[in-house]
């Protein structure tokens, strides 16, 4: 990708969607995330990069409180979604996750039909009043996930029978079917081949018009290709956060530069 191109990338909006303040995460005695402050904008793709074990996935999972399912995990600090603290006692994580959808590293469709996979979220949230509306939601979500043409004739086939790349796009369709405001993606392409990766990346760029997307990736090229903002994590610290072009061409911190040029990590 052309460096100049990246520098030219303009940010569509400056509205802050998520803001994290002094977030610390502990797994038992391990201090996994240390004092992270970050502002994630609406309608923007934000990439989290960094070496393995640096805490980027952990931080991502904090944004929709998936870490609640881990007993030993403890989170301090505030994460605000539209100005509301998601770790407030009054917040039900289930309601939060309807607003903050997630796509996982390994494609994990339910062992049900393709249709049921997509329809499950809208069904439990009561988004469709009848079968016709549900059909519409399913079709729209599959179209947005760029998989409709491939599966429209076999919506009753099991989702687990698709190829890896198709499964991941199905999972994206499932995540966006509930109309979340934020979409979290935890290394969504790590199990995919280059062609499927390209399809998913193209998709992420389109999703930006409706959602605020946060993506964790090991591939710096991918971060450079799809994101407008990039955060570099190292050993639990947020080392640097800024426009993608700047991080990749002119990083402030020597650690960022070392990682990007391949000297650490």
């Amino acid at each position: 990708m052309n460096t100049m191109n990246m520098m030219d990338k303009t940010l569509d909006t400056q509205t802050t969607k998520i803001s994290a303040r002094d977030v610390n995460v502990y797994y038992g005695d391990t201090h996994a995330i240390k004092d992270v402050n970050v502002e994630i904008d609406a309608n923007t793709v934000t990439a989290f990069i960094g070496p393995s074990g640096c805490g980027k996935s952990t931080f991502l999972r904090c944004i929709n409180r998936m870490n609640d399912t881990i007993d030993v995990c403890r989170v301090t600090g505030d994460i605000l979604l539209d100005g509301e603290d998601i770790y407030d006692k009054r917040v039900d994580p289930v309601q939060l996750r309807a607003k903050v959808g997630m796509v996982f590293q390994k494609p994990n469709p339910f062992p049900k039909s393709i249709y049921d996979n997509v329809a499950y979220g809208p069904k439990i949230h009561g988004l469709a009043r009848n079968k016709a509306e549900m059909d519409e939601i399913v079709e729209k979500s599959l179209r947005r996930a760029a998989i409709w043409e491939e599966v429209k004739d076999r919506l009753d086939a099991p989702g687990t029978g698709l190829s890896g790349g198709q499964q991941q796009r199905l999972c994206i369709a499932r995540a966006i079917a509930t109309e979340p405001e934020v979409l979290l993606m935890d290394e969504p392409c790590s199990a995919l081949d280059p062609i499927a990766t390209a399809q998913v990346e193209e998709l992420i760029d389109e999703l930006r018009t409706n959602f605020s997307v946060v993506i964790v990736t090991h591939s710096m090229q991918q971060a450079a290709r799809v994101s407008q903002k990039t955060a570099f994590f190292h050993l639990g610290n947020l080392v640097e956060f800024g426009p993608t072009g700047q991080i990749f061409t002119n990083p402030d911190d020597p650690r960022t530069e070392s990682y990007i040029t391949g000297r650490i990590g």
Binding site: T69, V94, Q95, P111, I124, R174, A175
Partner: protein, 450 residues
Amino acid sequence: MTDLSPTPDQPAAAKTSLLTLSPRTVKRNSAETRFKAYGIGAIAVGLMMLLVLVATIVGRGTGAFQQTFITVNVELLEAKLDKNGERNIEDIKRVTTFGYAPLLKTAMKNTVSELGIETDLKAKHLAGILSKSAVAQLRAYVLANPDQIGQTVEFRFLAQSRVDGYLKGRVSRESIENDKNISPAQLDLVDALVAAGVIEKTFNLDFILGSDASDQRPEAAGMGVSMLGSLFMMLVVLALALPIGVAASIYLEEFAPKNWITDVIEVNIANLAAVPSIVYGILGLAVFINYMHLPMSAPLVGGLVLTLMTLPTIIISTRASLKAVPPSIRDAALGVGASKMQSVFHHVLPLAAPGILTGTIIGLAQALGETAPLLLIGMVGFIASNAPETIGEGLLSPNSAMPAQIYEWAKRADPAFYERAWGGIIILLVFLVTMNTVAVVLRRRFERRW
């Protein structure tokens, strides 16, 4: 880093040919061959024991499914059965089984003389080759069909157990020398009646469907009522152990915090699975009968005791199948905003269901074959019961269970009961094998890949 050159302290190995086996390879290969031989030997020994077991059971038990019957025409004399001739059912009922005995004697005498068989036996001894249940069978028929009084009706009576044993080869002329129940002359009569086609050995459905009989009438004893006792116990176990076990497992596996209390519970459940079943029996006696005053010998109590015994098995297998559901499925459900409960009931439980069902069926099969706890709550012994009319009666009235019935027969003196015990084992094994097969088939059919 790959270092292709040999290090100085490790001299390069001498050049070897692939066509000759090195001593190490020979040793390893022979160790493998030996291990395979041990494995095949172990399987062969196991199969042989199974074969011996099945052959013995089948060889000794099949006799119980056949019984000797004697076909006799009985004239239902009005003078004996209904003196007033009014066909008043109350009058007819007043005649006890003693009143019917002369009819059988006459009938046997007539049969013998009609066939032209020469015998010195008195009428009493002629009728002696019939089962003691024959008079009761006759009386029951007359009470059910009072309009038949005065007619001559053909009956198929059970032969007494010595006659049955004689036809099955269990009883011989030598073995009855000191036997008061049968004489050589009676055996001569039996031989003649067999030749005439009056006595024949046929399949006996009553052994499978009938009720137990007293010590004097082994030929009339059947498994049916104790089978119902087992059925009612299994209903209790299924109705209690499955929901309680599955609910406990789901809570422990999916919802409970992982701390020392749940650890203690987990260890104790594993320990409960190893508690000898007789302990559950004495617990049931103390709690359900002595303290709660539930009826003795009732399948309800038996079912409660077996529920206690089966719960750990069901909990352990259910937790194992819940654990086997990959966490990615739970993540996926939570990720689209399902609540914990929705993720469990919509996704995890359906995937774990085949395993849960298999565990439950195997637990039930285990409970079905359990005898020891039943001894303590009085579900063993001669329980003169008939088939219950209602489910409530089935649960509360005294009954036995299949394994207890087998135990009961095996300990009675008459060898005819011994044969029935083996036959009972065949019936019990048919149930157990069927249940285990269903479990395997269910697992094969519904096991889903993800």
